[in-house]
Symmetry: C2
Subunit: 129 residues, 2 copies
């Protein structure tokens, strides 16, 4: 059966099993998109095992268990997969103060990485302060 219509998980990590898939992480309650990151097979399996959002850090080249140092972990409520089985949504409940590494003026983290809107003139407006 085609990957769009099957009830079997056929998430594709490439021929050698090392490919990355993009992961949209969304607050399960507010539906706010918090982060976009990537998962390899190890990160996906660790996410399912631990129930905490885990990614593959492309910049550091290592498994990234979100919030392990900051305490801002993201508890998995549900994982969704797209038609082509090449991307994921993690629906999560944030356990800490925010999901972004960037900080507001008061020193607390932004809840979402998408705290700026692009204006018509190409400048950015901060929508969460």
């Amino acid at each position: 059966m085609k990957k769009e219509y099957t009830d079997q998980l056929l998430l594709d990590f490439g021929e050698d099993g090392t490919a990355l898939v993009p992961v949209v992480t969304q607050d399960a309650r507010t539906k706010e998109v918090l982060i976009l990151a990537f998962a390899n097979k190890e990160a996906f399996e660790e996410t399912r095992r631990s129930g905490l959002a885990t990614y593959w850090s492309r910049s550091r080249g290592e498994l990234w268990k979100k919030g392990m140092t900051s305490g801002d972990t993201l508890k998995i409520q549900e994982i969704r997969i797209n038609c082509d089985q090449n991307s994921l949504i993690y629906l999560v409940t944030p356990q800490g103060k925010g999901a972004c590494h960037a900080k507001k003026n008061d020193g607390s983290p932004y809840s979402s990485c998408y705290y700026r809107a692009i204006n018509q003139d190409g400048t950015l407006s901060f929508i969460e302060e």
Copy 2:
């Protein structure tokens, strides 16, 4: 000023200007994530110019003006950018019947590409029928 805190658009399409950035497309009203796709500089500029969600099709290697053949265009309400200025959210109002190329049993398109949840046992449940 660092890219996280500036009000200047510094979206990075790489040294030769041909890199792709991932784009989360979200229904502006329901906050449902509809599609994850990619944009190059041309797709991003066409999106801003036309007010309709436009991507770069990696499989076809061409500009992809969503819905030009099906009528299922996605009208842009707002574009957001992340802390690192390397991904986007298109907040849209769908103009057609759905955003996904996959079809439900009744022949209409799924509103979102993420119409399946991954169960604990590794099977998939259809959450939109």
